[in-house]
């Protein structure tokens, strides 16, 4: 209900689910991720339908993709998922400082991923793979770009949450926010696993 329901000053074991508001938030966020799944599912379908429509003289996926870059990006993003788990575990044991450190690491890894993606896109554009080049390029940038925008949003969101923790501390109000941001971060990680497989690996071999 409000921040002052923990009268004795101690947080319950799962502070994110201690209030009805918290439980609503967690449930509502899972539902939202259901919608996000359909969103990315549709983007994947569009990409799969159009990925061979490269057009004449434009670079194909085999020529474009550098697996080493995207493998690094994958490694960074998967690691950030692990660090976000550490943050949630620290939250559950009420170690606020450790939680903040792990959240900061998560944000930094997210930024690293974004930097790699920006460099990657810039290289493609240089090689003549622009958004309006072909149906393949439009669907590629839309799918991967949507994911990148999600990472960017997550980075900003978690940064704001870190600032809030500094100001308000870990309470039954802030805990659900951290928790759903954690779920969100895992979700965009899972989406990336599919992008790496369907876009990059299949693009390299198929």
């Amino acid at each position: 209900m409000s921040a002052h329901s923990h009268v004795d000053g101690k947080l319950p074991h799962e502070p994110e689910k201690a209030t009805l508001e918290g439980r609503n938030k967690v449930l509502g966020f899972w539902l939202f991720l259901g919608a996000e799944t359909v969103l990315f599912g549709t983007l994947f379908s569009a990409f799969l339908a159009l990925r061979h429509q490269v057009g004449d003289g434009n670079p194909s996926s085999q020529e474009l993709f550098e697996l080493s870059t995207t493998a690094w990006a994958t490694f960074i993003l998967l690691t950030s998922s692990l660090t976000s788990v550490f943050a949630i575990q620290a939250m559950h044991t009420n170690k606020v400082k450790s939680m903040i450190i792990w959240l900061v690491v998560t944000v930094l890894l997210g930024l690293g991923f974004l930097a790699l993606e920006v460099v990657e896109f810039a290289t493609y554009v240089d090689e003549g793979h622009k958004f309006s080049t072909s149906a393949f390029s439009s669907s590629f940038y839309t799918l991967v770009g949507f994911h990148g925008a999600h990472v960017l949003f997550g980075v900003l969101w978690i940064s704001i949450l870190i600032a809030q923790i500094f100001k308000k501390g870990l309470t039954v109000v802030t805990a659900p926010k951290i928790y759903v941001a954690g779920i969100y971060w895992h979700f965009i990680d899972v989406v990336w696993v599919f992008i790496f497989t369907v876009v990059y690996l299949m693009g390299k071999v198929g």
Partner: protein
């Protein structure tokens, strides 16, 4: 309370702009949806005037295209959906014994984004031409090649913004129904309307994101040189059809399921019998929702997907007739042996049953793929979907509005005018659309602005136009009823129909801000009826009287919607040629669009940073309320 927070409680206009109360948001949905219903109805009348005689030139061909596009789009997205949300907001929390929805703030966002999207779509009329590629906006017709100008941009961006509102609304109701039910209100004790609201919300959750992607792709094609649907650069026009209909078919079940819920409540109440086959009703609702996702390609039989795909989608479509048939028979058996009261609400509900059966039968006819090659794009299809949407959904909505009007506004609508409304609307409806079956079978194509003399279309079209005006009369009678009733004293009792079965009838009309002074204890299906049958006047409380926590009002949802509105306009006009002045700088660099998005994101930031402590309503205030009512 020791820590009561100071919260500004607004009154007057500011109260409505900042409200997070689900009952007020319901009324806002009703007013906005009602307004768009009138706009869409006016467009329908203009279409019918154009078609009342052969080779008419009442409107130009391109205006006709705009009218039919905006009529369909407005009615589906801006009239039907919001009025459904109006009833869901007004009634679902009351039926499950909840004080509020799970996310009151998000609920307000849902309303305001829908409203901003709807206004944006209709701004197109005054900004050089409305969308004119049909409500389905098929590629390549809707791409830049064949639809220059900004019409389709308004469609793409207006629907995108309105769609955000619908999606968050759906999430809100799912979370509300899962988490906020009163003690004892198990899933299998939930009223049918709440069940259908639940399944509809689930369909919204899984269908709308597909539309989001389709609209994004179409927007990128039109504004940023994308090639999703541009065949010259490898794009695929059929892809749009798939994406649109994988959203679009669940959408029609999103529309009709709540009507099924309303009909179940109304028929059961006014037959004064428990709903026949409640658990099979629940099962049928879930099954319809599930099958609704399996049938999208029956809109595309003539696209050329091949006999295997057509056969599968044909069979899947016919399967839906089974759970729907279960429902029809359950309603009939509910009435069977009941002591039926023919109130206006019940007239609409009873009128619904045979009308919807007719729409269902033509639906099964259309599901037969080989026959569909004959019906496709003819007035037969127009007749079919108006039978299920107007004859189904709109009759259901009228029924629900007459039924729950006292719970929403504290006044019972006038029954005499109500019956006049029913008969004019009902007869007008059948006059308009029954003849269109035959026009279609005779070969009259849909979406064509006129027809030649001597094809045998003249009389039937004339009848259809007369019917449309009769429906208009019915709607005006309804509006008259609303106005007249609003001048009457607010004297509806808790249970004005005297046969109310569900929890909403156990509390005052209209419901107080906190809904239930004490959360009720639910002891069975038809919770309130059960207590009444045991001689009690009210529900057993599940908690002592205490202070009630309420969320604070907020202006942020409105500002967020305004931000999206500005951003939408900015994107749309980003590619225009404005010379090299300040305006060109603002639009061509997407600065307006970015400012709009920044406004919305800033509101999200503020919402995240500023804690909403809400306020408390104390027991003295609650018992004071009670004292007045008693």
């Amino acid at each position: 309370m020791a820590h009561a927070h100071k919260v500004k409680r607004y009154s007057g206009l500011m109260d409505w702009l900042t409200t997070v109360d689900h009952k007020k948001i319901g009324i806002l949905y009703l007013i906005a949806g009602g307004f768009f219903f009138l706009v869409g109805g006016l467009e329908a009348l203009l279409i019918r005037i154009q078609l009342w005689k052969p080779l008419n030139d009442f409107v130009a061909a391109h205006t006709y295209n705009e009218l039919l596009t905006m009529h369909g789009t407005t009615m589906i997205f801006l009239a039907a959906m919001p009025i459904i949300f109006a009833l869901m907001n007004a009634i679902v929390p009351l039926q499950i014994g909840a004080r509020d929805v799970a996310f009151p703030f998000v609920n307000a966002i849902g309303f305001w984004t829908f409203f901003a999207g709807g206004v944006l779509l209709n701004v197109s009329w005054f900004a050089g031409g409305a969308p004119d590629a049909g409500w389905t906006s098929y590629a390549p017709l809707a791409t830049n090649t064949f639809s220059g100008g900004h019409g389709v941009d308004y469609y793409v961006i207006g629907l995108q913004i309105a769609g955000i509102g619908t999606l968050v609304g759906g999430i809100n109701f799912l979370a509300t129904i899962i988490n906020m039910r009163a003690p004892g209100m198990s899933f299998m004790r939930m009223p049918m309307f709440t069940w259908t609201a639940f399944i509809t919300s689930a369909l919204i959750l899984f269908a709308f994101p597909a539309l989001t992607v389709g609209l994004v792709a179409m927007m990128f094609d039109r504004l940023f040189g994308g090639n999703f649907f541009e065949p010259t650069n490898g794009g695929n026009a059929v892809l749009w059809e798939h994406i649109f209909w994988i959203f679009g078919h669940p959408e029609v079940y999103i529309l009709i399921l709540p009507a099924f819920g309303v009909i179940s409540e109304v028929i059961s109440t006014f037959s004064r019998k428990r709903l026949f086959g409640y658990s099979s009703m629940v099962f049928a609702t879930v099954l319809i929702g599930f099958l609704g996702f399996m049938v999208w390609a029956h809109h595309m039989f003539t696209t050329g997907l091949g006999p295997v795909a057509n056969a599968l989608f044909s069979i899947a479509t016919m399967l839906i007739a089974v759970p729907t048939g279960i429902k029809i028979f359950n309603w009939l058996f509910t009435m069977w042996g009941g002591s039926i009261k023919f109130t206006t609400a019940n007239l609409f509900a009873i009128g619904f049953v045979p009308t919807f059966v007719m729409g269902g039968v033509t639906g099964v006819m259309l599901a037969a793929a080989p026959a569909d090659f004959q019906y496709h794009d003819s007035y037969f299809v127009v007749a079919h979907f108006h039978y299920v949407i107007v004859g189904g959904l709109i009759l259901g909505l009228f029924s629900g509005l007459y039924y729950w009007w006292p719970k929403m506004f504290g006044r019972v609508l006038h029954e005499g005018l109500g019956k006049l409304c029913f008969w004019t609307f009902f007869i007008g409806f059948h006059l308009t659309f029954f003849v269109q079956h035959f026009l279609g079978l005779m070969g009259m194509p849909r979406r064509v602005w006129t027809y030649l003399d001597g094809q045998g279309f003249n009389n039937l079209n004339m009848i259809s136009t007369v019917g449309a005006f009769l429906m208009g009369v019915g709607t005006i009678v309804f509006l008259l009823n609303v106005v007249i009733t609003s001048f009457k004293p607010r004297n509806a009792t808790n249970d004005p129909w005297e046969d109310g079965r569900t929890l909403e009838w156990s509390i005052p009309s209209p419901a107080p801000e906190y809904n239930f002074a004490q959360t009720p204890l639910v002891r069975g299906y038809d919770a309130f009826w059960k207590e009444k049958m045991e001689g009690k006047k009210e529900m057993l409380p599940a908690e002592p009287l205490g202070s009630i926590h309420m969320p604070s009002p907020s202006i942020l949802p409105l500002i967020m919607a305004v931000g999206l509105f500005i951003s939408g306009l900015g994107f749309m006009y980003g590619k225009g040629d404005y010379g090299d002045g300040f305006k060109a700088f603002l639009f061509n660099n997407h600065i307006v669009a970015i400012i709009g998005l920044a406004i919305t994101l800033a509101c999200m930031f503020l919402r995240s940073v500023i804690d909403d402590h809400g306020f408390h309503i104390e027991p003295d205030e609650i018992t004071g309320d009670k004292g007045v009512k008693a």
